[in-house]
Symmetry: D3
Subunit: 62 residues, 6 copies
């Protein structure tokens, strides 16, 4: 505890994911006053055909 889930578009390089989990862990640990080791993060990558806003698939939005 805490456990973080991040839903994001697929396609970012691993280095970006590594920085993302590092920065989000720091933000969570600092504000909730827990040790970084207590913070777990799950990344859910999404295909542009699996996300929609306003009834239109992300892949079909200009």
């Amino acid at each position: 505890m805490p456990i973080v889930e991040i839903h994001m578009m697929e396609g970012r390089p691993v280095e970006v994911k590594a920085r993302l989990v590092e920065e989000v862990t720091r933000a969570v640990a600092d504000t909730l006053n827990v040790k970084p080791e207590q913070v777990r993060i799950i990344l859910h990558e999404m295909d542009p055909h699996h996300y929609a806003i306003g009834g239109t698939l992300w892949a079909d939005r200009g």
Copy 2:
């Protein structure tokens, strides 16, 4: 807000997914009285080996 997640078996064509998000967005927007643009939908596709009912994997159910 609102954010909808739909867990479904993999394998449907993109056209079906496009109609799905369109119809679900309309249903949510109409009943919750929000604008369609406020509705976000995430589709989680599942492999038949990653879903089970009654202790049996979907892939193994006749």
Copy 3:
């Protein structure tokens, strides 16, 4: 299958929730070509202090 989760602000009356699940079930069943009885829906109601856009809690947005 399919299983739908809807994250929404708290406070709507039960009648609205009843219409929501009815309409969303119809939309999912019709487009994915499954029986309505196969569709399960979970509603996650949120306190305005538990949702944020752009780094600001919903409760604090004008």
Copy 4:
């Protein structure tokens, strides 16, 4: 109802997943006093680059 989601590292063989859902269904059905057929399980497999503890990706932890 109940609906179980299991987030786990990718790579286990199907036989292990079959035993997993069988055993978890039994544990849930027995303790919650419901029929096994009422228990649904979704497996979310994760790439080691999509899980982090303490700000470090699982793939990068020794």
Copy 5:
């Protein structure tokens, strides 16, 4: 890892929840060959007005 989420109807006594997490942890640890301490479980309790099958709220099903 692994992380388990269990969506269940509200109202069970704490003793039942304690046995549930104990049994599910054993099932997961044994079949996935991980230590019990590695298994985390989140229980999501639901109000009968927040779950639906076939377009009808659980609370309204006879």
Copy 6:
């Protein structure tokens, strides 16, 4: 997009939650190179009887 879910123990004051969403939004926006307004965060607060590690409820761990 992106959408973040944070599962955390209940009981923190609103000010802590406000700082949490502000800092996590900054971390996500900076590393994924998106605008803060694109980042949505859902907080899931948990009762100590609804989280377990190693088969023991958080409430029962010394």
